[in-house]
Amino acid sequence: MSVLEILGGIFMLGGCVFALTGAIGVLRMPDFYTRLHPAGKSDTLAQGLILFGLVLLAGQQLINAWPTEDNSHADQWIGFANIILKLALLSALLFLTAPTATHAISKAARLDRYTRLPFDQEPDDAAGTSRVAEIVVVGDIAEPLEEEPGPVLNVRETVAEEDDS
């Protein structure tokens, strides 16, 4: 084992610690908004560490296959450089997409007022209600879901007229 392989192993084991604690946090956190925290942060750091450890392992193979006078493995040298490039591309892609997906999930959960998220409860609140979800913000989906009621399908006014008569 060379220095690069030992460093790669250390990075991968650190990534393992972050991945496992993130999964345990998602399983054991009490409500939805606290579950976003381990799922969003520790997964991003864990994939960064593990993929960087794999880059170090591939870098050791690249050094082994370095073309010299008595070692003509030019095609393998290109192959290992290609692997390192793909790992860097994959890590950059995950660094962009994973926090974006977490942000989209949290925004969708915030805007969905019909899902009862147990969050920020006072002791005298009823069970299953959310105080944050009662605050109307711009872009709330409560209004756009309601289509314009036609004369036939307007059940509420029909029932009200029957009650009046």
């Binding site: 991945a19 998602v26 591939a58 692997i83 994959l90 997409t97 009862r116 989906i141």
Partner: protein
């Protein structure tokens, strides 16, 4: 198993393989990483099956997808000196893109009840 294969195939392939022959200690590190990622995926699957709201399920499935991407990239390095990890990394990149697009599409469908 490795000794038998090396003996049968002869020295022709031993010249072609660049790294040290046999299982290096880094293979065991990569294997341990794969097992830890599988354990984390099982824990996230429990949350996805149990989650009270639909957003818990989406969150757990998204995190499982990220773990699967890293797992495929680790499987590529299990047999590093002999195998060719390039195809596994292509699969991993495509899976990362599909995972992101699927999460956004499911969220948009839940939010607006349509995808347009």
């Amino acid at each position: 198993m490795g000794h038998v294969m090396g003996h049968v195939m002869g020295p022709g392939l031993a010249v072609a393989s660049v790294g040290s022959s046999g299982h290096s200690p880094t293979s065991y590190v990569v294997l341990a990483t794969c097992l830890v990622l599988l354990t984390g995926a099982v824990l996230l699957l429990i949350r996805a099956l149990r989650g009270p709201t639909v957003f818990d399920r989406i969150l757990a499935v998204n995190a499982m997808g990220t773990k699967t991407v890293v797992l495929v990239a680790c499987i590529a390095f299990l047999d590093m000196p002999r195998g060719n990890p390039s195809f596994f990394l292509d699969t991993s990149i495509v899976y990362a893109l599909i995972n992101f697009v699927a999460t956004i599409a499911i969220l948009k469908y839940i939010q607006y009840r349509r995808l347009s």
